[in-house]
């Protein structure tokens, strides 16, 4: 019985494990946590047995599930009691590799952004997703995705130029609110 279920997940696992790991890592900033998230995503896939219209639909479903699992973990009491890193620890950086793009300092800055901005920016720049695809994955309007891309970029500039965002910008607060909405997906 278990063998049959394993077989079912084999094909999508082979196709999406890498991108799902990268998306999970960009949220969790740790190899072990990212692997747990990917595993949980495939467990949910086996439980729900969803049907898909296309390969894109399937991929979008997996990414959305991974993002939601990350939100769930980050909201949990256990996670808030333990030390959560805003920055990607140096010892973890070696566990993250992009297949066709060189990792640079900007990538780590993207990962440090609040989730509401981090995911659209990461998918747009590093996974080559279009705005339309991101809007499908995150269940947002295209306008909202564009706004988040712009605000995320502004927030990153603030942090890089001034070390932190300037007072009165309120971008982080806004991001936390928007992140809260995402978590309810």
């Amino acid at each position: 019985m278990l063998r049959g279920k394993e077989k079912e997940a084999e094909a999508p696992f082979a196709k999406y494990k890498d991108i799902l790991y990268r998306v999970a890592f960009s949220n969790m900033k740790s190899k072990a946590d990212a692997e747990d998230v990917v595993q949980e995503a495939f467990c949910r896939y086996l439980k729900a047995k969803p049907s898909f219209d296309s390969e894109n639909h399937e991929k979008a479903w997996f990414i959305r599930v991974v993002i939601n699992i990350c939100y769930d973990i980050q909201k949990s009491a256990w996670f808030s009691r333990t030390v959560a890193f805003d920055e990607v620890p140096e010892c973890e950086m070696k566990h993250f590799h992009l297949p066709f793009v060189e990792e640079d300092e900007t990538l780590w800055h993207v990962m440090e952004l609040p989730a509401a901005y981090r995911n659209p920016l990461y998918l747009f720049y590093y996974e080559d997703y279009s705005i339309k695809e991101i809007s499908q994955v995150m269940d947002l309007g295209e306008g909202a995705v564009k706004t988040r891309l712009r605000r995320g970029r502004e927030l990153m500039k603030e942090r890089i130029l001034y070390g932190t965002e300037r007072k009165g910008m309120g971008l982080t607060e806004r991001a936390l609110k928007e992140g809260g909405k995402d978590a309810d997906l």
């Binding site: 297949p99 066709f100 793009v101 900007t106 993207v110 720049y125 080559d128 279009s130 712009r150 890089i160």
Partner: protein, 152 residues
């Protein structure tokens, strides 16, 4: 002929003083003879317009030596070079390829695609022999970098 008369003659010939709504308007031949700037201003305006148009034309050619083509949306895996500029809000993807059969020069060309965070995607094709190192545009710079990539 005095300037006053000359101005009046020109204005009448152009029908400038006949139309409605001109009753209280300042007539061109009312302009004091010593100022005599009517034609000079026209000339200077025209020349400045020409100058600006010329400059604009030059800017355009400086920006693009390639030609705009339809977007192919090539994935990162098929690119020879990818440049991600998060702070400026754009991504450049470039691929070097053989020029089409109809191409007389029969050389190489570089396809460059640019997408920005406003959702715009543009694509240009640069012919290898025309790419300039100091091209004013980031797409041309990218094309130059791809053409001169080591190991190609």
């Amino acid at each position: 002929m005095r300037i006053y008369e000359w101005n009046k003659g020109v204005a009448d010939a152009k029908g400038m003083n006949k139309g409605p709504g001109k009753i209280n308007g300042k007539k061109s031949y009312d302009i004091p003879a010593e100022s005599g700037r009517v034609r000079q201003e026209e000339d200077s305006f025209r020349s400045s317009l020409q100058r600006s148009m010329h400059v604009r034309m030059e800017t355009n050619t400086a920006l693009k030596t390639g030609k705009e083509v339809s977007v192919r949306e090539i994935p990162y895996s098929e690119c020879d070079m990818v440049e991600i500029n998060v702070l400026e809000g754009y991504v450049l993807k470039a691929r070097r390829e053989r020029a089409g059969e109809g191409d007389e020069q029969g050389g190489q060309q570089v396809y460059v695609e640019k997408k920005n965070d406003e959702g715009e995607v543009k694509a240009y094709l640069f012919h290898g022999s025309q790419i300039r190192q100091d091209g004013g545009d980031e797409m041309e710079r990218m094309a130059y970098a791809v053409m001169n990539q080591k190991g190609r």
